[in-house]
């Protein structure tokens, strides 16, 4: 009875809201916006199939530039460096962020808690170019040259807040009664963490890891300043190619890089959406 009572007013309300809230032409604006958002990506991909070696002049369809890009040893090296850096940075940053998020969400209140969160999210606030030159000066003054290690350390630093945020959000949204029940049933703290907290936290950890990975793969300016000559990542290599003039080969490499991110983000979106929410189990 209560249900049918509610349905009618809500339905009429929805109708009425449409009438007043609708602004004509907004749909067109939204679609134009989407065109604006995707135009550069589409243009880039289309021109990567251009047969000629001048980007702007279309001479026919060809996949030669992809073959060339794959055959280019420097590109392969840069791509491999990117993957090594992103994988290591993601693993380290996600571990640090998980530990920190657990301490902040389950460690009770303590002095300097606000400042702690502030420091962890600091890399999000400081402009990238400032971070980049600061790290450059730091590494060069310290004489610390670990090759790719420098790049990994830099990436870990700015990936930590990206990994931290979804993990912390997940922890805050999690019900603590299961953890309490586990302790009541004489599980040790470690058992509780491993068998109760961690499995529930996993979607947050995966989200954090995936954000870190994408952020690390895409970073350019910090890597440009920190990386030594032989340690270029793919974005830095693409940048040096652009400086020498645009060729369809850059378009091909760039298209692959774009496709890689798009697949990752879309896959992530659909996996998180089909998973049941942590709040109701």
């Amino acid at each position: 009875m209560a249900v049918s009572d509610q349905i009618t007013p809500v339905a009429t309300k929805a109708k009425k809201r449409r009438a007043f809230g609708e602004v004509p032409g907004l749909g067109a604006v939204a679609i134009a916006f989407m065109v604006f958002l995707y135009l550069p990506i589409i243009v880039l991909v289309i021109y990567s199939f251009n047969a000629g070696n001048i980007v702007m002049v279309w001479t026919g369809f060809s996949t030669d530039w992809y073959a060339k890009a794959f055959a280019n040893a420097d590109i392969r090296k840069a791509a491999l460096n990117s993957l090594v850096v992103a994988t290591s940075a993601t693993a380290i940053a996600t571990t640090c962020a998980t530990l920190a998020a657990l301490a902040l969400a389950r460690g009770g209140s303590f002095r300097g808690k606000g400042a702690t969160v502030g420091i962890i999210t600091l890399p999000l606030m400081v402009p990238e170019i400032v971070t980049a030159v600061a790290m450059l000066v730091f590494f060069s003054n310290l004489g610390l040259s670990l090759g790719l290690g420098n790049v990994i350390l830099a990436h870990v630093t700015f990936c930590i807040p990206f990994a931290f945020m979804p993990i912390r959000a997940r922890l805050d949204g999690m019900d603590t009664t299961l953890e309490q029940a586990s302790r009541d049933l004489y599980a040790s703290d470690w058992e509780t963490f491993r068998l109760v907290t961690l499995p529930q936290l996993m979607p947050g950890v995966l989200a954090g890891a995936m954000l870190s990975f994408v952020i690390s793969m895409d970073d350019f300016i910090i890597t440009l300043m920190v990386a030594g000559a032989g340690d270029t990542t793919l974005p830095v290599y693409i940048y040096s190619m652009i400086r020498q003039g645009i060729t369809p080969e850059i378009n091909a490499v760039s298209s692959i890089l774009l496709l890689f991110s798009i697949v990752l983000v879309t896959a992530y979106w659909f996996t998180t959406r089909t998973k049941p929410d942590g709040k109701n189990h």
């Binding site: 309300k13 809201r17 007043f20 609708e22 602004v23 907004l26 604006v29 939204a30 989407m34 604006f36 958002l37 995707y38 550069p40 990506i41 243009v43 880039l44 702007m56 002049v57 571990t95 530990l99 920190a100 301490a103 902040l104 009770g108 303590f110 702690t116 420091i119 962890i120 600091l122 890399p123 400081v126 402009p127 990238e128 170019i129 400032v130 030159v133 000066v137 730091f138 003054n141 350390l153 830099a154 870990v156 630093t157 700015f158 930590i160 040790s188 470690w190 963490f193 994408v214 895409d218 350019f220 300016i221 652009i242 645009i246 760039s254 890089l257 991110s261 798009i262 983000v265 979106w269």
Partner: protein, 302 residues
Amino acid sequence: MMANLPSSPALRRTLSLTPALGIIGIFMLIPVGIIAVFSFLEAKSFGGVVWSFSTDAYVQLLYERALDDSLILSPGYLIIIARSFLLAGIAMLCCLVVGFPVAYFISRQPLQHRNMWILLITIPFWTNQLVRTFAWIIILGRNGIIETPFHWLGILGSDDTLGLMYSNFAIAVGLTYTFIPLMVLPIYASLEKLDFTLVEAAADLYSSKWEAFTKVIIPLSKPGIIAGCLLVFIPSLGAFIQPDLLGGGKNMMLGTLVQFQFSTARNWPFGAAIAMILLAAVVAFLMIYARAARGQQKMELH
């Protein structure tokens, strides 16, 4: 696997905070601190610093040293600072003007469609910024997508160009394009939470659509608007990729100037001083935002 966790909660907490705080402390806080110190030192030729206190780096922003060692006001760097604020402001306004209607449109869609729209807006944002920016060279550049029809129609001679590239205009387009998702998403978040019955109440009380918009919708979505403006303005102010690729050598912004000082000009204290000014501007904007957000919270509590 068996592990003995430290029994004291305080010790355990400290231990698990140490890696994250240690890494950010060592590789971020200390380096930024070093930059702050360097901005007050003397420059060594070809990079590096001489350890003696000097405000030369900051003086250099405003003045040029003449041959007789007197200081002459020189607007060169002030123009770069002004351009940075101006272009960041323009990008912010463009994002707001385009982003608000889009966010509003999405918030009025059925739930299933809304998620699809948000995914479509998020995807480009997570793809490589450098690559997406360089694609604009193909669109705006000489013989690019925009110019080609003009050449076909004979409006432009084959050697003529519209001169869209390597200009402040191109930078503004690049900044707007790159950061606009950061405007749409927070405004959408505000609008989605907005209780639309309030707008209906305004309609029932004979308000016009415009009044309902300016007196109900805008004030209630203000947190999203402010957050969006900040999220676009701050990264635009320190942007490097857009002015570097689309602005050419002449149209520098703070980000490119800092990079130039550290890589090519090799005047570290001067580069550090500009970095400090950029950082100070960002901190100032964040503080204004924090204050505004706190005020908003208070309002909601009452």
